[in-house]
């Protein structure tokens, strides 16, 4: 199809090439490292679960002991495999014994990496079976119940209490929501462990725990049956436990996960080495289990100006795309983020937003673009806010967005109340239906405001990516080129959890999942 924006395919290719080379050179760094969280993820996938008597999750207990003993460079796969060989115990039994101080797995006799790997293979197979069963379950639901047309109506619940969240989510499902995201409590991303069990206290969100995932998944499946439409569940994996939460999502059949190392670096001050390594494994899991990931470029525009810095969003989307390619993620699984965040008092702001939204669609024709609503310029004036959201919805249907995170008229006030969600779903459904085919009806003036804007943003992104390719991603972040936020290479949270692998290190999930194993 011809570009409505007259975008130059050569510039798009060039930008994408730069991004690929950025991702590839980062991959060299990633391949040499592992992290405590990546290792804990392996344990979770091996079925290790539960907490000790001071509420430390067993995966943390195991990894901490191995780390303390200096065994982390070899990786937990080796140590568990070796322990299985030496003790004949199953992974969960090993972890439990370790938590009671009854076993020190780094002190056992050691076998070869090959034998250790062979020992854990059955547990790995079981893990893949669980995930594959969930993939199958999702396919069955989609076939039997069906789903809405895109843009999907994506809303959040954020009461802090999983049971209250369920009530809100059920109401939203009945009102027409297609995706429910359970927002995490403030600063969970900074915890270097995943809390355990159902939880009822959180601030601005609810803890992401495996039990909470399960409770919400069940609720949405039930509502899905009631309304005759599969309702997707979303949670957040970015943060210090990126890969672990992705694994939990795979096991509990989440459908969408926020997953973006750059977000954690910039907005949560997480160490860049740590989270980029974690991101790799988390994306492999996501890719394997048919989860759709969301990147967090929209956040840039909350600290940076949406008009001035639009190209940083596009540059980051291209990098995120290439990080996903490396992790074997399919195009439809790429929920690349962008946002409607320009100052509403800007003359022709609507045209610029429209231009950028269509540009994103043309550059990523098969991605499941995630379009974020106005937040920064929302005020306590809920009436004006509702109109800002209306324009946002119009652009979404016009430009064919995939995941529409619905704007809330109360954005500047509180996390959504039940009625806020209803009103925003109504707003979106009205406009999606009332302007359904506008995208195919309308074309733009050659070299008009709309075309020129997109061309400009694309050119700037290409230039920025060329710079980053030259300079390296780490150093680009150090210089504050994204979101106007500078983060040091050795700064931020979680650096102490990064570790160089030794030659005997192995992680069988990476190979199996990348290979698409059954």
């Amino acid at each position: 199809m011809k570009s409505k924006l007259n975008l130059d395919p050569k510039v798009i290719d060039s930008a994408r090439q730069h991004a690929a080379s950025i991702a590839n050179s980062m991959q060299e760094f990633i391949d040499r490292h592992t992290t405590v969280s990546t290792e804990r993820t392996i344990l979770r996938l091996l079925g290790i679960d539960g907490i000790d008597d001071v509420e430390t999750p067993l995966p943390n207990v195991v990894v901490d002991q191995i780390k303390e003993a200096g065994g982390l460079p070899r990786g937990v796969s080796y140590w568990i495999g070796n322990a299985m060989v030496q003790t004949g115990l199953q992974p969960q039994e090993i972890a439990e014994k370790m938590s009671k101080g009854e076993l020190d797995i780094t002190k056992l006799e050691t076998t070869s990496a090959e034998k250790a790997e062979a020992a854990i293979m059955p547990a790995i197979q079981k893990s893949l079976e669980v995930i594959n069963a969930q993939k199958k379950a999702r396919e069955d639901y989609l076939e039997r119940l069906g789903e809405s047309r895109q843009p999907y109506c994506y809303v959040i619940v954020a009461t802090g209490n999983i049971y209250e969240d369920v009530i809100q989510a059920e109401a939203a499902g009945r009102q027409g929501a297609d995706i429910i995201a359970v927002i995490r409590t403030t600063a969970q991303s900074l915890l270097d462990y995943v809390p355990y069990g159902p939880t009822t206290e959180g601030f601005g969100g609810t803890y992401a725990t495996q039990e909470n995932f399960k409770i919400m998944r069940k609720a949405l499946d039930d509502i899905g049956e009631e309304v005759g439409r599969y309702i997707r569940l979303c949670n957040y994996s970015s943060g210090l436990c990126m890969a672990e939460i992705a694994a939990m999502g795979a096991i509990e059949r989440l459908d969408v996960m926020l997953n973006d190392a750059l977000y954690g670096i910039l907005f949560r001050d997480i160490n860049m080495q740590r989270t980029l390594v974690d991101q790799y494994f988390s994306r492999i899991i996501i890719g394997y289990c048919d989860i759709l990931f969301n990147s967090g470029e929209d956040n840039y525009l909350t600290t940076d100006d949406a008009y001035e810095s639009a190209h940083t969003v596009l540059a980051s989307q291209l990098i995120n795309e290439q990080f996903a390619v490396v992790a074997n993620i399919e195009e439809w699984q790429m929920g690349l983020g962008h946002a409607f965040e320009m100052d509403p008092s800007m003359e022709n702001g609507f045209l610029y937003e429209l231009s950028q939204a269509i540009m994103a669609r043309e550059i990523f024709p098969n991605a499941s673009l995630k379009y974020m609503p106005p937040t920064k310029y929302m005020t306590g004036n809920i009436f004006k806010g509702h109109v800002q959201d209306a324009l946002f919805n119009l652009i979404a249907v016009w430009s064919g967005q995939s995941l529409q995170l619905l704007g809330m008229l109360t954005e500047a006030i509180h996390t959504p109340h039940m009625q806020d969600r209803y009103l925003s779903i109504e707003n979106a459904k009205y406009i999606f239906n009332n302007a359904r085919d506008i995208g195919s009806e309308v074309t733009f003036k050659d070299n008009g405001i709309i075309q020129k804007r997109a061309q400009f943003v694309l050119n700037e992104a290409d230039k920025l990516l060329a710079d980053i390719e030259e300079e390296g991603l780490f150093s680009t972040i150090e210089k504050g080129k994204f979101a106007g936020i500078k983060r040091p290479y050795e700064g931020g949270k979680g650096l102490e959890g990064v570790c160089l692998k030794d030659e005997q290190y192995f992680n069988p999930f990476i190979t199996l999942m990348l290979g698409g194993a059954k």
Binding site: P198, T199, T200, N381, I413, H417
Partner: protein
């Protein structure tokens, strides 16, 4: 870390409070204008007002200068009043609703003659869409009007009809039921007009010979009864509701 207890998500219907995102949080949104100049004192006045209304933690999330000493507010607060839902009883039109065909059959079987219904928008009210929706062929939302009902003769006198004229016509045609539509409610003009209608009917000695119904977007059955009507119908009424009521009531009252 988080404590594990189930949420208090169940409602006590004898003490119902508004719900935001937690049972009994009392969350409410209020918008209004005060005739005071924009500023911190205005915000405080708004807060105090909402507090007097029984809302804790009033929060002025937006205020705007309307000019000329007026200020607009959006306020959130937590309402502390509760309602005993379990004892609420609402007066409702009680006849069972029959479909159009059933109505026709019911008349044939139970009344055995044509039912005569006459309707109008009265006073200076020019809104006919509501009464047309009930009477005219075309109906409303895919529900045909009385003109399409078997064994019903219906006359729509249109709008701006003086009460006297409507009554005269009803008398002339020996109507079984009169339909009065009222849309404009400013300064309670509809109450005046509806009341006058009842008084005229009584003066003419017709009140207990014909069913008297009223309807419109701000009419409830309760209000109608207070004003001396047999029944009242609000938004989203269809002809079958009205007809079912009339014919059931005619049989009940032996007006066959």
């Amino acid at each position: 870390m988080a404590k594990c207890e189930t949420a208090n998500t169940s409602v006590d219907l004898t003490k119902v409070k508004p719900y935001g995102d937690t049972m009994n949080d009392g969350q409410m949104e209020m918008t209004f204008t005060l005739p005071v100049p924009y500023g911190d004192e205005a915000d405080e006045a708004a807060r105090q007002l909402v507090k007097k209304m029984g809302c804790e933690e009033p929060s002025v999330v937006y205020s705007h200068d309307m000019g000329g000493g007026y200020t607009f507010f959006v306020v959130y607060g937590k309402c502390q009043h509760t309602i005993d839902y379990s004892t609420i009883h609402v007066a409702k039109v009680e006849s069972e609703v029959m479909e159009r065909d059933e109505c026709g059959k019911f008349i044939e079987e139970n009344i055995g003659r044509d039912v005569i219904i006459i309707g109008a928008t009265t006073g200076f009210d020019a809104h006919t869409v509501g009464i047309d929706a009930i009477i005219n062929m075309k109906g409303f939302h895919g529900h045909f009007g009385l003109e399409r009902f078997k064994n019903v003769i219906s006359i729509n006198m249109g709008s701006q009809v003086p009460n006297e004229e409507l009554i005269a016509k009803a008398k002339e045609l020996h109507a079984d039921a009169i339909l009065v539509s009222q849309t404009v409610t400013q300064k309670d003009i509809h109450i005046q007009n509806l009341t006058e209608m009842v008084e005229l009917m009584e003066a003419e000695g017709l009140r207990d010979k014909m069913l008297l119904l009223c309807g419109g977007p701000r009419i409830s059955h309760e209000l109608a009864q207070e004003l001396g009507y047999d029944a009242g119908f609000g938004s989203d009424t269809y002809a079958e509701h009205v007809c079912s009521y009339i014919i059931t009531e005619m049989v009940k009252r032996g007006r066959i």
